[in-house]
């Protein structure tokens, strides 16, 4: 496969690399009040160079970058050790939905402030009794004058402890399960919203429960058609499972760090696992570059989700075994990697998707 980059992409790569080298600083955990604001400021800094959303149209703060250039940006970003993206739920999950199903008015109103980190978005899909079985969700939106009233409870909402707004699925009826759902946007500081942060296994509130008690949403914040929420959500769920949320740059960077770690702590018993993890990251990179013409979406995204999430766990477990009891620099990454096979649809659900929708096995 020819992975040579053209001149303009090389120029872009050089620009990104030198800008990151000059600006990347360590930040506090984004799951703390202080760290969250530091990460928001980082998003603003990225946006000031139009580097926060390079693949978006320039009218919304992007650079109209090609998918290849976006991949290159991601490789540089992760290799530089730059901070995690506090805006990632908005940028990688809501924005593609707005591009596909939103109105011009919604895009003009929402995307520029998302690109600048002025509004950080949380996802409000899951509920306590609706995790893998998302279609069993029960939170409702009831028609009122000029809009909708939301009622119910959302769970496992990443970033919601400190975020500004959320995008969610609500039951508007008629019909059951996948039917009668509507995709709505709401303000986490609206009257009737209670956010209860949940401490994660690292001790920080990385996600939250959201209680909704007659929260008003204007008609302007319905995305797609009323009652068509499942299709609207699922048409871009592939973004979460596929390459856009987890670009190969993240894993090739981690694999390089792992190889460096091995050089410093050589342990012949772990050599094969280090090499396997490195091969996995390379394979994912090659798979992604090879798929540039037809990026994985729909059921094919489930293949990549299983692959990258299990690769991420293997990379971090190998690092931990190399380091032993104290694992500075890798511990948080390891704990986070454990959630990879769970969020964005558990890997059990992804394997069902692969089995039923790609292989055509009976349900």
């Amino acid at each position: 496969m020819d992975l040579d980059l053209d001149a303009s992409t090389l120029e872009f790569q050089a620009e990104v690399r030198s800008w990151l080298a000059a600006h990347v600083r360590p930040l506090s955990s984004m799951d703390t009040a202080r760290g969250f604001e530091e990460h928001r400021a980082w998003e603003r800094l990225l946006a000031s160079e139009r580097l926060s959303v390079v693949s978006w149209p320039s009218s919304y703060g992007g650079r109209d970058a090609s998918l290849l250039q976006w991949l290159v940006f991601e490789e540089e970003y992760h290799a530089s050790g730059a901070p995690g993206r506090v805006s990632q739920n908005g940028i990688f999950l809501l924005a593609p939905t707005l591009f596909a199903h939103g109105t011009d008015e919604q895009r003009a109103r929402i995307l520029p402030s998302m690109a600048r980190g002025d509004e950080v978005w949380a996802q409000a899909w899951s509920e306590p009794e609706a995790g893998s079985d998302l279609a069993s969700l029960r939170s409702t939106a009831v028609r009122c004058d000029g809009g909708w009233l939301l009622r119910g409870q959302k769970a496992w909402s990443s970033r919601a402890a400190f975020a500004d707004r959320a995008f969610g699925l609500f039951r508007t009826g008629p019909g059951e399960r996948h039917r009668g759902l509507t995709y709505l946007l709401f303000d986490l500081r609206s009257e009737g919203v209670t956010v209860r942060p949940i401490d994660q296994l690292d001790g920080e509130p990385g996600f939250a429960e959201i209680f909704l008690d007659d929260v008003f949403v204007p008609d302007a914040d319905v995305v797609g058609e009323v009652g068509d929420g499942w299709r609207v959500a699922m048409s871009t769920a592939g973004n979460e499972r596929g390459l856009t949320l987890r670009s190969p740059g993240r894993f090739t960077a981690a694999a390089s760090r792992l190889v460096e770690l091995y050089r410093k702590n050589p342990d012949p018993a772990l050599r094969d696992r280090v090499v396997d993890a490195w091969i996995g990251a390379q394979a994912y990179r090659l798979h992604t570059f090879g798929a540039l013409a037809h990026p994985p979406s729909g059921p094919a995204a489930s293949v990549t989700k299983v692959f990258w999430s299990e690769l991420d766990v293997a990379l971090h477990e190998t690092a931990l075994d190399l380091l032993g009891e104290v694992a500075p620099g890798w511990r948080d990454g390891w704990l986070f990697s454990l959630s990879g096979p769970i969020y964005a649809g558990t890997n059990e659900i992804q394997r069902n998707v692969i089995a039923e929708r790609i292989l055509g096995l009976p349900r």
Binding site: S126, E129, G131, S132, D133, S136, A155, W156, I198, D199, Q200, L201, D202, G203, G206, F207, D267, P268, A269, L270, V313, E317, L320, D321, G324, E325, V326, A327, R331, L335, L338, S339, P341, I342, Y343, T346, N347, E348, R351, N352
Partner: protein
């Protein structure tokens, strides 16, 4: 198990059911519940002969207790005090045994500084990851040849927090401390340590699987308990096979090779079960409130304690 050992297991389990609270224990200044420890000493779980004030329990009994402590992740000085007591007994030094073992049997925390991390044994260096090293009132150390009692007056030591908050570890600086020779150091203490730890790991792994099975029987998605889905059932069945084989490996540990086998096998089994516990629980296991991360962190920490599986695989490779 003999009726006596079953009774011991039940006594410890019932004590821990009633009184053990790992979350509360790790918040105490010493990291363990002194009342629970006193009750364990009353039951007589330390391997100390009756003539030295002990209950007459042997290592098998101690391992039964450690397995129970593993189930509930109860922090306690049992492992550290066991190793100190066994090292002391192995010297055959009557005077030292008669002087120190009754105190250990009564619950005085004792620990042993020994070169499990393959650092050169020394009475003048700094030892890392010493069990209860900052709490122990009786501190024994080896130079690789003999066992010594260390005068605490000359020792500096500090608690070393690690990811696993349920096990107390410390860094101990021996330089300048006075040491009294007690007798010969027995290298077989390594096997005692590995076998004891393996028993604890198996107890924890078995409980982690039980909790997971219970959860999948009650968590309903798609209108059914998730435990009814074959994709999950087979994984838990595999974990059961792993736990039972690990149990056998731990029970069989009685010499250098079998103890190393138990350490490798039980470390890997526990880690696998704990990691699967997280995955099979899903989002709830990513919360601080749920105990899955305590099992996972204990699995990682105990895998490294007394040498990682890789270290012992190397030893086995040379041996077999």
């Amino acid at each position: 198990m003999t009726p006596e050992r079953l009774a011991l297991r039940d006594a410890v389990r019932s004590l821990l059911d009633k009184h053990s609270d790992v979350r509360a224990a790790i918040e105490t200044p010493h990291g363990y519940d002194k009342d629970v420890w006193a009750r364990l000493c009353d039951i007589g779980v330390l391997p100390i002969p009756e003539r030295y004030g002990g209950s007459g329990a042997g290592q098998a009994e101690t391992r039964i207790a450690l397995a129970e402590l593993g189930r509930t992740l109860t922090p306690s000085p049992l492992l550290a005090s066991t190793l100190a007591a066994q090292a002391l007994l192995a010297t055959g030094d009557e005077e030292a045994c008669a002087r120190l073992l009754p105190r250990i049997a009564d619950g005085t925390v004792a620990t042993l500084v020994w070169p499990w991390d393959n650092a050169p044994a020394s009475l003048h260096g700094t030892a890392r990851y010493v069990l209860d090293g900052d709490l122990a009132e009786i501190l024994l150390a080896t130079d690789g040849t003999d066992l010594y009692e260390i005068d605490l007056a000359g020792v500096t030591r500090e608690h070393t927090p690690t990811m696993d908050q349920t096990r107390r570890l410390a860094t101990v600086h021996l330089a300048g401390a006075a040491a009294t020779r007690l007798g010969r150091w027995s290298p077989g203490i390594r096997d005692v340590a590995l076998a004891a730890l393996a028993a604890e790991q198996v107890g924890a792994a078995a409980r982690a699987l039980e909790l997971t099975v219970e959860y999948t029987k009650t968590r309903v998605q798609f209108g059914k308990p998730i435990g009814s889905f074959q994709a999950l059932k087979h994984r838990m069945a595999d974990l059961h096979v792993l736990v039972e084989t690990a149990r056998s490996a731990a029970l069989a540990a009685d010499d250098e090779v079998s103890a190393a086998v138990a350490k490798v096998y039980c470390s890997e089994a526990f880690f696998k079960v704990a990691a699967e516990m997280v995955q099979l629980h899903g989002g709830i296991a990513i919360t601080w409130e749920h105990d899955a991360h305590l099992y996972l962190k204990r699995a990682h920490g105990s895998g490294q304690l007394f040498g990682s599986p890789a270290v012992h695989l190397e030893r086995l490779r040379a041996k077999i």
